[in-house]
C-alpha cells in the first residue's frame, strides 16, 4: 500500500491505496465522490474528466498514487455556496443534458477550456467536445450552453 494525500475541492484526504488503483476509482470508491463518472476506462468517453492542478485530465488514465500532493477539482466543487456554476446554469437552460452521465466530465473540460481561452470559437468548443461522448443530446445544446458562457465572459 502507498500513501496518497490530495486536496479535493478544498478538502484534504489521506489514504493508503494499492498502486494499481485508478484515480477514478479512488474518487468514487475510496472517497465516495461519485459525481465523477466512469464510462470506458480507456480515455475515449471523457465521462471521468476532472481537473488535476488546474488541467482537465482523464481520471481513469491516472493512478491514484500519481496524484499524491496534487490539487483536484471534481464536479462536486463547481457550485459555490449553493449557487450553480455559470456552466451548470447554462446546461440547465439549454437542455444540454438528459441522462447526465457525460455531463460532469464535459463540465470540467469546459471550465478548463474557458479559463485557458476565455472566448473560444464555436469550432474550438466542438473540437474540445470530440473528446466526450454524449448519447442523448446530439451535442448541439451542449455547444450552445458552453458558447453562451464563453460569450458572456
Amino acid at each position: 500500500m502507498t500513501a496518497v494525500g490530495v486536496t479535493i475541492n478544498g478538502r484534504t484526504y489521506s489514504e493508503d491505496v494499492e498502486p494499481r488503483l485508478l484515480l477514478s476509482d479512488f474518487l468514487r470508491h475510496t472517497l465516495g465522490l461519485t459525481g465523477t463518472h466512469v464510462g470506458c476506462e480507456h480515455g475515449v468517453c471523457g465521462a471521468c474528466t476532472i481537473r488535476l492542478d488546474g488541467d482537465a485530465v482523464r481520471s481513469c488514465l491516472l493512478l491514484a498514487v500519481q496524484a499524491d500532493g496534487c490539487t483536484i477539482e471534481t464536479v462536486e466543487g463547481l457550485a459555490t455556496n449553493g449557487e450553480l456554476h455559470p456552466l451548470q446554469e447554462a446546461f440547465r437552460e439549454h437542455h444540454a443534458l438528459q441522462c447526465g452521465f457525460c455531463t460532469s466530465g464535459i463540465l470540467m473540460a469546459a471550465a478548463s477550456l474557458l479559463e485557458q481561452d476565455g472566448t473560444p470559437a464555436r469550432e474550438e468548443i466542438v473540437d474540445m467536445l470530440s473528446g466526450h461522448l454524449c448519447r442523448c443530446t446530439g451535442y448541439e445544446p451542449i455547444v450552445d450552453a458552453i458558447a453562451e458562457v464563453a460569450n458572456a465572459s
Partner: protein, 285 residues
Amino acid sequence: MKPVPFTYVRAESVEHAVETMRAHGGEAKLLAGGQSLVPALNMRLARPTMLVDLNRVPGLDRIDEKNGDIRIGALVRQSTAERTRLVRERCPLLAESLPLVGHFVTRNRGTIGGSIAHADAAAELPLALVALGGSVITTLRTISAAEFFVGHFTTVLTEDELVVATAWPRTYPGEGSAIVEFAPRHGDFALASSACVLRVEDGAVAEARLAVGSVGERPELVDAERLLGSTLDDDRVRSVGASAAAAVDPPPNLHGSPAYRRALLGTLVERAVGTAWARATGKSV
C-alpha cells in the same frame, strides 16, 4: 477493468529510472503521460510487474532551440508544446500535428516523448518527426527518426534506454510544411496520413521530404524526387500522390478496405504537398 498488481516506483532522476529498469529486466514499464499505457493496463493488454513513473523527474520538461533544432524534453506535455510560441513559430509542422493528437483533455497529460517512444503506426508525432528528419535523444545516443521506428509499437530502444528529448529541425523562410490525415472522428486513429516539407528557391522546389503514416508498420519516407527542380503543377502533385499510394499495402480494418485506404492516402499526399507548396510560396498549385 483494472490493471494487474504491480510495484510502483516514482523515479527521482533519469539515472534512477535507468537503474531501476536495468535491475528489473524486461518486466518493468516506463510511465510518462500514460494516455496509451494506462488504457493498455486497464484492458490488461500490458501486464508489467513494475511501473517506473517518470512524471516527477526534473529537467525533462524544457523546450529550447539548439543548432537549428527545437529540442523538446521528453516529459513536455502535448498541450504545453501546442501553446509554446517557439514551437508555433519555428516548427509549424509540429504545431499543426499536435491538435490532431487525441483530444484537448488527453493532450494535457500525454507527452511528446511518450508518443514517440510508444511508436503507434498511426500516430501523428512520429510521422511529423520522420518527415522533418528529426531525431530522438536517449540516455545512450542520438537516433535519427528514420532509424528509430521499427514497426507498430516497436523502436530501436533497448530495455534500459530512456528517451530524454526529441529534436525537431526548425523551419526557415522559403520552407513550407503540412500534415494531413483522415480519421472517422477527430482524435481517432487515422486511416491514412501524410506530411510534407518543401524548400523552395527561385520559385522551384529545391528540397522535398514526404512521409506517409497509418498505412504500414511505421511512418515511412517516400520518394519525392519528382517534386524537385521546378514549380509544382497539378499533374506532378497527382503523380506523386499516385505513386505513394501504389507503394503501400494497408491492411483492411473496420473503416476501410485496402483499396479505399490506398486511394485515401493518394489524396492526402496530394493535399500535404499542395499545402506545403502554398505555404512556402504563397501560391496555390
